[in-house]
């Protein structure tokens, strides 16, 4: 369950290997056990320098892509999880849990309580999930309200103290590092016996509960006979409960209007004390029918102090909010494009913003554009070879808008233009970016009456909703496009 060592490595251009070890922590008592457990297969934790180099090599982050290197490029060297073996000093350091997120590499080496040769299956190693949770925790801590490098540095400087608190001997006590930070500051509070470990103090002040529902909608639209369009809603419900008492009991309910789309694949926060089996089993794997559980979705819980994600869900709404097609034809150095977008009538026509980004990959800079738009305006980013169609706050009454035009490109220069592996030739997409406030696509809402608080004082309850686009693609229907199995399967079902 313990970790032998943890690293944080930032990717910085201009440093050797473009990377710097920003933080590392070793656990010698765990190392002691590793030596006994691993026996002959034991490989000691290396110093930061050799570790960094070996990890970057394995993650393909060293710029030596030129030649085929068997230990990295061999077809049998297959990694299907974020767990790696690093070749260091003639031995293999395994398992190294590592991932790259926002220019930061998070890595740790969990203790394996047996011999490492052959590698035992990851599922049987308790330290793997603990390691992931530690790294996710550090990542959350670093990304929480972080705006610039100074703040990042401040947080990185806090890490040694925080890990001394949250992971003193390599066994993780709390993945929520913010909690550990608070516990350092809350040290003077006297605790009662049933104080949960995930709640370092108690709230004093006006009781209030805030619930916000954010739905992201993603879509893949093809406008083709043999490939079905797909779309999905992913919801996140975030809560902040400022309530007095050590363990206030709260029940939050999410409701749907009569024509709302059922919530599926619900994952809840560990503070939820019990779950209805209908919530547990409602899943996107099953075919949709009218018998699907449509709420209300009740979540009894004892809230932590900080803001937390009460639950995540997905949902399959009957139609995508914006349906469109994109046609692009290549003609020597120029392409002809036609775009049509239609907002569904059921969707609230009041955007915070709405834009269509039309990138052209693997081509030179844009030299000339001739276009016609029925609505909104078009911005041309010549060097980036992309167009942005700014649609604005509202679709026109017809709910339907068009763009057509011809784009001419200059010569391709390899240094500047980014290479894209998917958008080759006619394969191209446009991506929609929009946001609608006080609206959810599923109809899901939480109102004042949906919150029951079993604590002294009547809390003020505030609720928020918003819909955001995310990965909303419309592919060129005049060329091949990458498809998912679902798209193919749906067509077969429909035909």
């Amino acid at each position: 369950m313990a970790q032998r060592a943890v690293w944080l490595i930032s990717r910085e251009p201009g440093t050797p290997f473009c990377s710097t070890v920003r933080f590392s922590r070793r656990y010698p008592t765990v190392e002691k056990r590793a030596k006994v457990f691993n026996g002959a297969s034991y490989v000691p934790i290396p110093e930061d320098g050799p570790f960094l180099k070996a990890l970057l090599f394995e993650l393909r982050l060293l710029d030596d892509d030129e030649d085929f290197i068997e230990s990295r490029d061999s077809c049998s060297h297959i990694n299907k999880t974020s767990v790696y073996g690093l070749l260091i000093g003639g031995g293999e350091l395994w398992p190294v849990v590592a991932f790259l997120k926002n220019n930061m590499i998070y890595a740790c080496v969990p203790l394996v309580e047996q011999t490492l040769s052959p590698h035992p299956p990851l599922i049987s190693i308790s330290g793997i999930s603990q390691g992931f949770e530690l790294l996710f925790g550090v990542q959350d801590f670093l990304s929480l309200s972080q705006k610039n490098d100074t703040e990042l540095n401040t947080k990185l400087n806090q890490l040694p103290d925080l890990l001394l608190q949250a992971c003193p001997f390599g066994t993780l006590l709390d993945a929520n590092l913010q909690n550990s930070l608070d516990s350092i500051n809350f040290a003077s509070v006297t605790h009662s016996q049933k104080q949960p470990a995930w709640k370092v103090g108690t709230y004093k002040g006006k009781p209030q509960v805030s619930i916000s529902i954010t739905e992201k909608v993603k879509s893949m639209q093809y406008d083709k006979q043999d490939i079905a369009d797909t779309w999905q809603v992913v919801g996140t419900v975030t809560c902040k409960c400022d309530l007095e008492g050590i363990m206030p009991n709260v029940t939050i309910s999410l409701s749907l209007p009569t024509n709302g789309s059922p919530l599926q694949d619900i994952l809840v926060h560990p503070c939820v004390t019990s779950l209805d089996s209908a919530i547990l089993t409602s899943s996107s794997i099953d075919a949709m029918d009218d018998s699907a559980f449509s709420g209300p979705y009740k979540f009894p819980l004892t809230p932590p102090l900080e803001s937390f994600n009460l639950c995540y869900y997905t949902s399959q709404v009957p139609v995508p909010p914006i349906l469109g097609f994109y046609q692009m034809k290549e003609e020597e150095i120029q392409v002809k494009i036609t775009v049509n977008l239609k907002l569904h009538e059921s969707v609230k026509n009041n955007f915070e913003f709405c834009e269509a980004h039309i990138p052209f990959y693997n081509r030179g800079p844009i030299t000339h554009v001739e276009y016609k738009v029925s609505f909104g305006q078009l911005e041309v980013f010549r060097e980036k070879s992309s167009l942005v169609w700014i649609i604005g706050q509202k679709f026109p009454k017809s709910m339907e808008i068009n763009l057509s035009g011809t784009v001419t490109f200059g010569a391709k220069s390899h240094e500047k233009q980014s290479f894209d592996e998917i958008c080759i030739g006619g394969t191209a997409y446009l991506k929609l970016h929009f946001r609608i406030l006080d609206y959810t696509l599923t109809g899901c809402y939480a109102d004042q009456h949906s919150v029951q608080v079993f604590a002294s004082g009547k809390p003020k309850i505030s609720t928020h909703r918003k819909l955001i686009s995310s990965d909303y693609y419309i592919w060129n229907s005049k060329a091949p496009a990458p498809v998912t199995y679902g798209s193919l399967l749906l067509v077969r079902c429909h035909n």
Binding site: E47, S74, S76, S82, S129, N179, D265, L280, P482
Partner: protein, 878 residues
């Protein structure tokens, strides 16, 4: 060294962290540990700096205090520092406790005889119990965090010395029931309980589990430390969460049969821990479940239903650790805790978690791994291999199939699942169904190849394409419907981008014949059908060196012939020669000889020319098998990456004769006195197979004519070989020694040379009988010989001692073939022919009890002393 400023320490620590080994080897290394301890008591440094010093000691105790004595001294010093702290709030108390614990454990100093251990343990237990330890241990506000820290220190000590806290179970339970901090105490109790159970089970001794669990708040008298139990545990560290397959054999808790009272108490303790588990952080809950799950597993009389109330709550969460812990319970208890419906629900939740958009990619991948290694109640397949669980039908998998838009790792993980589905689907597949998983697989692979074929694309996409192909072959090697399009697709990919040749070679080296053979044919076809002069020639030659064999010889040779003219630089020439090598090995003859000759004439580079000539000579002079060995992988240097070096070493090994210790034993068999000349009968034994054995003999002193070599085609250990006959042609009738050398080929094809021990040829080995004497006048014949010896020769008389068996036995044993006239048991006339042309005549008459007088004559005086020695030695030789 005097006190250092904060800045100096910061620099020093940074230098140390950059490379601890380099720092410790430097001038400051030696003092660091000592300085650090003394600076902790300095008034000049801020607490923050001191905490950073302690942080260093937490990470690198082995470097700072490398042996047990130093570690013990360091721990003592740290404890002294702790006691001396003024009674106001301080940030140093926690790290000092952690540092003292770490120093003792990492330095191997923890033990009943260690003074520091004897101070630390009661201190920790006192703090953990929330006892008032006096003003020195800080203000009341610090008690709670110190109590938690002390629990953590105790947990680490128990982890490293399992059983140490075996005597504190009752105390810990009591604390947990009162006001103690829930999480640290729960984890500590769970670990101590588990370790006690396991150690007792292993030792097959039970020191009253109930007593341990029931013991009062304070350990009754004496030490609570169970060093004895810890010593037992120390023999083998206890995995806190053993890996599953290993646990099957290792846990062995079944032998522990608690009494009903004990079982009840145990159940109460576990229930107590589980009931308050929701107060723990999710990661700590997971640890608790792993510990308790494996503690109770297999323990007779303990049903796992205690865990049931926790499961629904845990299954609903998005926490990786909690789901993982549930899977661990599943593995530990199987059907006893999870019905078939529960199993199905768990699988569904896992499937959801493996693709939920709200979870990060690493979590998806881990869940997918868990899905393919799912601990089923009734697994069908072999354990240890990834497989789709039975209940995971195509419907559940639909969202988990790969697409080109996925990240490489996700794509490979999902591709594996798709392959497993295709493998299952093999029989069921309907004809004409458009989008079966197999069709989808084909489309996906085609997409990957298309991406890999892009000019200037990153190597990662090529690697991904080949990894995917490899994975498909691994899973679906038996399905021609998959392999045929794959082969063609790969061949097209090569046509589009020959620069990927190293990937192709790598793939061919790793896949079995199912894909390997057709792909070789396709690639060879792809290469040889080209004109052989494009810029990708280097890659074509690399591919050909891999795929060239005896097939399509003329096309291959034609391509090489055309390519030769374009091989203007050394590298290309070597690449072409590598192909020739492959052809030589495959036994291609005629056309290749012409090509090699042409190369040897045509090329300007001397190295290329020489190699071509060498290959030509090899081809012309070595028989097929030998050629194969000569050009095969070098036994001398298998690890060398450079083919040229390997080649040269291989040649040296194969074409040169190796000096070797003899695996052959040679001995002289019984004497055969017949035929025109003396013949040695040799017996050969070998310790390992030897082929084409040639034995060469050299006569010491040249007393015989040079001897011919003896050949044996094949010798195997344990298989008797018929005696070898070695005819001797003495120039003088004298004994000698033969110097023997053996030349043979080993099973690995090396030619070896060995020097064998010299082989003695005795005087008697030269004896030959005279041609048959005329019947009836044997005596006359003898007398004639006897008389003819003189005057040229010599005469002697000597006494031949007889052993207990008497004269008759002696003659029959040694001289029988040479007897001319016999009057047993007292008188024998013996005539011996000694090649080249000497004779030795003996009269043995009037034998007495202990000897016989011998009159001897010879026509060669030089034989006389030899005959004397021979006769005197006869009785001893019996």
């Amino acid at each position: 060294m005097g006190p250092l400023s904060r800045e100096t320490w910061a620099q020093r620590l940074a230098a140390f962290r950059a490379s601890p080994s380099a720092f410790m080897a430097g001038p400051e290394g030696e003092d660091l540990g000592r300085d650090l301890l003394s600076e902790l008591r300095s008034d000049k440094l801020s607490e923050q700096t001191k905490v950073s010093l302690l942080a260093l000691s937490l990470e690198y105790p082995a470097q700072l205090w490398p042996d047990a004595t130093a570690a013990e001294a360091a721990a003592t010093s740290l404890l002294d520092t702790l006691v001396l702290l003024p009674p106001r709030p301080s940030a140093l108390r926690r790290p000092l406790l952690l540092a003292a614990t770490t120093a003792l454990v990492a330095g191997d100093a923890l033990g009943p005889t260690s003074e520091a251990s004897r101070r630390l343990l009661p201190l920790l237990l006192g703090l953990a119990s929330g006892r008032d330890l006096g003003r020195g241990f800080g203000p009341a506000s610090e008690q709670r965090p110190l109590q938690a820290t002390a629990c953590e220190c105790l947990r680490e000590l128990e982890s490293c010395k399992p059983g140490l806290l075996g005597g504190c179970l009752g105390l810990l339970r009591g604390l947990l029931g009162q006001e103690g901090p829930v999480q640290p105490l729960s984890l500590l109790l769970a670990l101590a309980l588990r370790n006690t159970l396991v150690i007792q089970a292993r030792a097959r001794a039970r020191a009253g589990l109930q007593g341990l669990l029931m013991a009062g708040d304070t350990p009754s008298g004496g030490d609570p430390w169970n060093w004895a139990l810890a010593e037992e545990g120390d023999a083998r560290l206890q995995p806190q969460a053993p890996s599953w397959p290993a646990a099957e054999e290792e846990c062995g808790l079944a032998v522990l049969e608690p009494t009903p009272e004990e079982a009840r108490e145990l159940r109460a303790a576990v229930a107590q821990l589980l009931d308050t588990s929701y107060l723990l952080t999710p990661v700590a809950q997971a640890q608790l479940l792993w510990l308790l799950g494996w503690a109770l597993r297999g323990l007779r009389g303990q049903t796992p239903v205690l865990f049931k109330p926790q499961l629904v709550r845990l299954l609903g969460t998005a926490q990786l650790t909690l789901l993982h812990a549930v899977l661990a319970l599943k593995a530990a208890f199987g059907e006893a805790l999870f019905t078939a419906q529960d199993e199905a629900l768990l699988l569904r939740r896992l499937t959801v978690a493996a693709q939920h958009p709200a979870l990060p990619l690493p979590a998806h991948l881990f869940h997918l791994h868990c899905l393919l290694s799912f601990p089923e109640n009734w697994p069908l397949g072999p354990t240890g291999e990834e497989a789709a669980p039975l209940l995971l039908g195509p419907r559940l998998c639909r969202g988990l199939l790969p697409s080109l838009l996925h990240d490489p790792m996700a794509l490979l993980a999902r591709l594996h699942l798709l392959c497993l589905l295709c493998a299952e689907d093999e029989e069921k597949e309907e004809k004409g169904q458009d989008w079966s998983p197999r069709h989808y697989l084909e489309e996906l692979l085609a997409g990957l190849r298309q991406r890999a074929a892009l000019d200037g694309g990153p190597r990662a996409s090529a690697t991904l394409c080949f990894q995917a192909s490899y994975l498909v072959v691994q899973c679906l090697a038996t399905q021609p419907t998959v392999l045929t399009p794959l082969t063609h697709g790969l061949a097209r990919l090569y046509r589009a981008r020959p620069v990927l040749a190293p990937h192709f070679v790598d793939l061919l080296d790793r896949v079995g014949p199912e894909l390997g053979e057709p792909l070789r044919v396709a690639l060879r076809q792809e290469v040889v059908s080209r004109p052989g002069r494009d810029e990708a020639l280097r890659w074509h030659l690399q591919i050909l060196a891999e795929v060239a064999d005896g097939n399509a010889q003329s096309a291959t040779l034609g391509f090489l012939g055309a390519a030769a003219a374009h091989c203007t630089d050394w590298g290309l020439q070597q690449a072409l020669l590598r192909v020739c090598r492959a052809l030589l090995r495959a036994g291609v003859g005629g056309g290749l000889a012409d090509l090699l000759q042409a190369l040897a004439r045509q090329w300007e580079d001397p190295d290329g020319r020489d190699h071509a000539r060498l290959y030509y000579i090899l081809l012309a002079h070595l028989a097929g098998p030998k050629l194969g060995v000569a050009l095969g992988p070098s036994p001398a240097a298998p690890a060398l990456a450079s083919s040229l070096v390997a080649e040269n070493q291989g040649f040296a090994a194969v074409l040169m004769v190796q000096e070797a210790p003899a695996p052959i034993r040679l001995s002289v068999g019984p004497h055969r006195a017949a035929g025109p000349g003396p013949v040695l009968q040799l017996h050969v034994e070998v310790l390992e197979p030897a082929y084409s054995l040639e034995l060469r003999f050299r006569v010491e002193g040249q007393v015989y004519a040079p001897l011919g070599a003896v050949h044996v085609p094949c010798l195997c250990p344990g298989r008797p070989c018929r005696p070898l006959l070695l005819p001797l042609q003495p120039r003088r009738p004298a004994p000698t020694r033969l110097d023997v050398r053996a030349l043979y080929t080993t099973p690995t094809g090396l030619t070896c040379h060995a020097h064998l021990p010299p082989l003695p040829v005795n005087f008697a080995d030269l004896f030959l009988p005279f041609p048959q004497a005329p019947e009836g006048d044997k005596l006359g014949f003898f007398e004639e010989l006897w008389d003819s010896c003189l005057p040229k020769g010599a005469e002697s008389r000597l006494w031949c001692p007889l052993g207990p068996q008497g004269l008759e036995a002696l003659v029959s044993r040694h001289l029988e073939p040479f007897v001319v006239v016999a009057q047993p048991p007292t008188s024998y006339h013996i005539a011996i022919r000694l090649p080249p042309d000497s004779r030795l005549l003996l009269r043995l008459e009037a034998a007495q009890e202990d000897g016989v007088p011998v009159a001897l004559r010879t026509d060669d005086w030089a034989v006389l002393p030899l005959a004397g020695d021979y006769l005197r030695g006869l009785s001893a030789a019996v």
